[in-house]
Symmetry: C2
Amino acid sequence: MSVEANASLRAGEVAVAAPLHGDAALYFIGSVRTPWSQSRDCPRQGDREHGPICRIEVNEPWRAALKGLEGHSHAQILYWMHLARRDLVLQSPRSDGETTGTFAIRSPNRPNPVSSSLVAILEVGADHVLVRGLDCVDGTPLIDIKPERCPEAPRPKGA
Amino acid sequence: MSVEANASLRAGEVAVAAPLHGDAALYFIGSVRTPWSQSRDCPRQGDREHGPICRIEVNEPWRAALKGLEGHSHAQILYWMHLARRDLVLQSPRSDGETTGTFAIRSPNRPNPVSSSLVAILEVGADHVLVRGLDCVDGTPLIDIKPERCPEAPRPKGA
């Protein structure tokens, strides 16, 4: 099922034919506003402490589902990397002909380009959440928001 | 858009009409084999150290994408909670009439029931991965496998 002649593949990379149909449908429940208008401008990883404040906009009919999120300091944000290609099984991140399987790297290019970021919550509004820690391009479709404990919270002194 | 009369709703819970169409299609790339045949048998959270060994089966054409995963000790597994309902915006986890927004709890019932587990990798085969740390029902559809650092790895003594 390899596609042999594909000008946008790097040496050694292998693409497969995409399945003829999907198995489940995602709903885009909102979108993520960030300062980065192109993929190449995005940081490699979000910074929950010093990164810019980003706005997560939640669409109807899902806004009521934000109730209670203000009681949490951190959240896991799932979003859809809509600019990714979905057919690569072997990739060559360094463009040197050496390939790694898609499941052995965290490239956005994967069969189901769902990404997960752990963010710090600054504000929860009726239709939005302000957070720090995102790294995706402006306009990225939102899939989910889940409360999360902060993994690296320093223990209080004496505890 | 509330559905008022719904026998399976607990007091105070609110369901909305599902969108008429999906915005993106997920491919099920394999399935997860666990010892738990029903949701009620599943542990609340996977145990990477002492949990049972589970088998992640990867379908074609995606198997080549496992190349290199054997060099990693841990992975993030994304799967689709196919038994979840997707229309709840307010839920009452304790069935006491007190409700919380879906985005403020980690219930499987959410607009896009994508779950993420951090697992320990025991074996990577040509068409499967053996792991510890899953908590989902047997037969759960697989969405993605990504290498991950273990967050709580103890530092070597003297380091």
